[in-house]
Each structure stands twice: as C-alpha cells, then as structure tokens.
C-alpha cells in the first residue's frame, strides 16, 4: 500500500465515523425527550455532517479519481466503509445514545487534538476546526452521563446497561493497524494506543462522579476500520443512499 493509499484509507475512517454517527443522531430529530434535546442532538449531527464533508472531500482529493464527499458517502457499499463499529450501533434509548456519544466524543476529542498538530496542513486545519465543535460535544455528552448516572434509579440502571452493552466496541478505538502505523511514521496522525490512557482516565473520573461502574476489560469487537461491520450498517446505507441509487446520475 502506497502512502497515498494509506492516507486515503485514514481519511475515510475519519469521514465515515462522522457520517455514520451524524446519521444516527439525525434519526432522533423529532423524537427526543424534550424540545431542547431535539435542538441539541441536531446541532451535534449538523457538526458531524459538516466534518464529514471536509474529511471526505479531502479523501477524494487524495485519491485523485474525481470522487467528492457525496460520491464517497452515497455510492460505496458497506464493505468499503471504514467507520468504527461503535458509531453504527443503533440509538436504543436515550442512555444508549448518550453512552455511545460520550465514548466517541472523549476519543474524538483526544484524536483531533493530536491531528491538529499533523504535518499535513489540510488535516491540521480540519482537525482544529472540528476540535472546537467536539469540545462542546464532549462537555454535553459527559454532562448527560452524569445526569443519567446520578439521576433516578431508573436512569442509573439504563445508563449502566448502556455502558455494559457498548463497552466491547471501545477496544477498536485504540488498536493500531498498518494504516495507523503509516500515519504515525509520516507524522500525520497519532498512535491510537497512546490515546487509551487519557481516554480511560476521563471515562473513569466521569463514571465515578456519576456513580457508575467501569466494566471489566474484556473481548473487543473489531473490524469496522477494515470494512467488516455489524449488520446495522447495511440498513443505514439503505436509507442514506436510497435516492442516489434509485435515480443514478440525477442531480439534486
């Protein structure tokens, strides 16, 4: 794999994470527990859709085959998607959505902070812009973990169940493969493993304050980064890509 190909793959991962999680959050619009949450969840989704456009347009540019963000988002099949498994997990109840968001935001924040110092100016620029947004996302999802964890008996039970269910999808965030190693070698991206300690520190401190228990380390589900997904992604794409697939070559 050439450096260009590795960079393309890496940018797809960044873009696809934002795309798939933005899509999941947009499913909440109109169904949230309060109007304020309809607004807030949509805000986060909008930020992520904006980040998707930036990352995937850059990916298309690096690839050099004339594909832009829309072509990459709407005309690839599931096996070519590179998002981590965590973000494609269904919304579940509000606790599942917020636990998923907190795990992702905490990691995303740490990752973007490193990427803002990337040797590639285009990456550094997108990361710096996204970091501002994600700082707020993290503040918000962390706040919900506290409120639900330390709220009522029911909310505590639901939040703990959400954490226990999603925990096995967090391992993938910190595993390096040859693409991550190529990025590290070129000074373009960080070593994923190096993000684990600060991430775990943040998660532990938050759970402690929220009276939640940290799950035991266990088997991690992995595969998203290589295009081996859960069954859920296919349905996301069936929705997302419907019009582009049903009316090929139309412009909208």
């Amino acid at each position: 794999m050439s450096d260009q190909e590795a960079l393309f793959e890496y940018l797809l991962r960044l873009g696809d994470n934002a795309l798939v999680l933005g899509h999941r959050l947009s499913e909440w619009c109109g169904h949230a527990p309060a109007l304020e949450e309809d607004l807030a969840l949509s805000n986060v989704a909008l930020d992520l859709i904006g980040q998707t456009q930036l990352w995937l347009n850059l990916a298309g540019e690096v690839e050099g085959k004339g594909r832009d963000a829309d072509k990459l988002a709407y005309l690839r099949d599931a096996r070519d998607f590179r998002n981590i498994l965590l973000v494609e997990q269904p919304n579940g109840d509000f606790a599942v959505t917020m636990a998923r968001q907190f795990f992702f935001d905490a990691w995303h924040y740490l990752l973007l902070r490193e990427l803002a110092g990337s040797k590639d100016g285009r990456i550094a620029e997108i990361a710096a812009k996204s970091l501002k947004e994600v700082t707020y996302h993290l503040e918000r999802s962390r706040d919900w973990v506290l409120r639900l964890g330390d709220g009522t008996e029911e909310s505590h039970r639901r939040m703990q169940a959400a954490i226990d269910d999603l925990w096995m999808y967090t391992g993938e965030l910190f595993e390096a493969d040859e693409i991550d190693r190529a990025m590290l070698r070129e000074g373009l991206g960080p070593d994923p493993a190096a993000l684990h300690e600060p991430w775990l520190g943040l998660v532990k401190a938050t759970f402690e304050e929220a009276t939640l228990s940290l799950p035991q380390p266990g088997w991690a589900q992995r595969g998203g980064k290589r295009g081996i997904h859960s069954e859920h992604l296919g349905y996301i794409l069936a929705d997302l890509q419907f019009l582009q697939r049903a009316y090929p070559n139309a412009t909208w």
Partner: protein, 331 residues
Amino acid sequence: MYAQMVKTGLERIQSKEEMSPEERSFQERIDADIKIEPKEWMPEAYRKTLIRQISQHAHSEIIGMQPEGNWITRAPTLERKAILLAKVQDEAGHGLYLYCAAETLGVSRDELMEQLNSGKAKYSSIFNYPTLTWADIGAIGWLVDGAAIMNQVPLQRCSYGPYSRAMIRICKEESFHQRQGYDIMMKLARGTPEQQRMAQDALNRWWWPSLMMFGPSDADSVHSAQSMMWKIKINSNDELRQKFVDQTVPQAEYIGLTVPDPDLKWNAERGHYDFGEINWDEFYQVISGNGPCNRQRLRTRVNAYEEGRWVREAADAYAAKKAARAQAKAA
C-alpha cells in the same frame, strides 16, 4: 400560520358603550398600536384566544417536524441533508419560542403538551398528509412555508408583545425555508424526466391542502371579527389565500409546473387569479382526525413524550441533588 379556526368564546362583538372602563382603555391602546405586555390587564377572552392561537401554532411546528423529519435520513446529498436537518431543527426552535410566548399568558409548556398529546388541542391540518417522495420536501418548503409566511408576516405587527416578537424571529427563518423548498423544486423540475414527474406529483398532492391552510372563509365569522379588532388577526382567510395563489402561480409557471386546478385563470378585472372550489369536506375530515396521518402523527408525538419521561425526571432529580449538595457545602 397554522391556526386555522381559533374560537374566541364570544358570541358577538361588544360596542364601545357596552365595555367596562378597563375594557375600553384596553381597546384604545390596541387601536393606538400600543403593544400589550404580559403583566398588563387584558380581557379574559383575549388571553384565552391568544393561548389557543399561539398554542395551535406551536403544536403545528412540533407536529410539522414529522413529515419533513421523515426524509432527513434519506436526503439525497450531504448538503441537502444538513439543510433539511437545520430546517426541522428551526421548527423545534419555533415551537420553543411559541410555547414561551404562551407561558407569558399563564399556561405551562407541560399543560399545552398534555393538551396536544390527549388529542384535545388542534394543529394545522396540513401536517396530516404524508411525505411520499423527496419532492414533497420541496413542496412543503415552497407551498406550506410559503402559506405560513403569508399569515405570519402581518402577525409581526400583532397586539401582543411576546407573540409579535416571536413572529419577527420566526419570519426570518421561514423565508429561508421557503427559498430552500423552491430550490429543491427547481432542481427537480429541471432534472431528469423522473425528477420532473416527482415534482409535478408533489405539487398535485400539496396544492389543495396548502390552500386549506388558510382555513374556511371567515367573512361572516364573529370570532375573526373579534380577533381582528384585538389585532391578533390582521387579514381575513380569503385575503391571505388570494395573496398566496397570486404569488405562487407564477412561481410554478417559472419552473414549468402546472397548478392542478382547471378553473385557475387570471382575472384582469380583479387583478387576481380566480381559482376552483376547495374541497371543504376533506378539510373538516382531516381536522377532525380522519386525515391520512392524524393517528400516526399523534402516536409518534405521544411516544416521544412518554419515552422521554424518565430522561426528564432524571435531569430534574440530578439538578435537585446538585442544588442540595451546593447548599450543604455552603452551610
């Protein structure tokens, strides 16, 4: 818009002579275009009518999130998806301003939500129609928001301060919504034959329900006359409907779409379009619960509210614990 038939609870309009001194001075303030603010004295019927009108409008914004929300996950490009999501988000925001405006009249958001969820409160009949294709998203922006603007622009000048100010904010966003809807339609109307068919089909289905949004003729309605005297209604339903038709027909022609009304004709003498008879039977059926989506819309809203209850309770409980801890610390 979105308040099609608002009752005042009155059977006839009082003459100045019949009014109490308070009522007379209230009416004089309105006649002089002085805004009424929440803490001032107001007739009970004015307060109740406003609550009804503002809450119908708020509920319409909230229920209106559903037909458009139906296409957020299927929007055809990332940009269209972001625009649609932002638009539906605006509607949640409009609902919020309007519930706040209603709260200044002494009714809580929870009470109003309960009225909506129980099926007691009304919302605009238009949102009980389904969005079947992407072109429906264009049609809603262009026609439904277009019709809403017709009514809301004059309401920026309405007599009740908080409502007037909410309208000013809302109108700014609505005109952007209408433009994006028309833009979707234009793209489709100039697209492939399949897209053109989709656009025409959406216009065919949304045209008549959009005209119904203005409500039945209220030329002889005591309620409308009273609301106009209070300046919480500025124009008659027929006036606004005519204005809407006059504005919209050339827009349809410009992008090559045909308005589905064989009786539509420019009347040079009147300087307006003449148009066909509206099916009011359909309107009354839809407003009384028999539209294609009434049950679905209400069920979705009730589910969101009920399934969110534990979250709202948790947020309250957490806030109370936090406050108690802060107090214990301070003591």
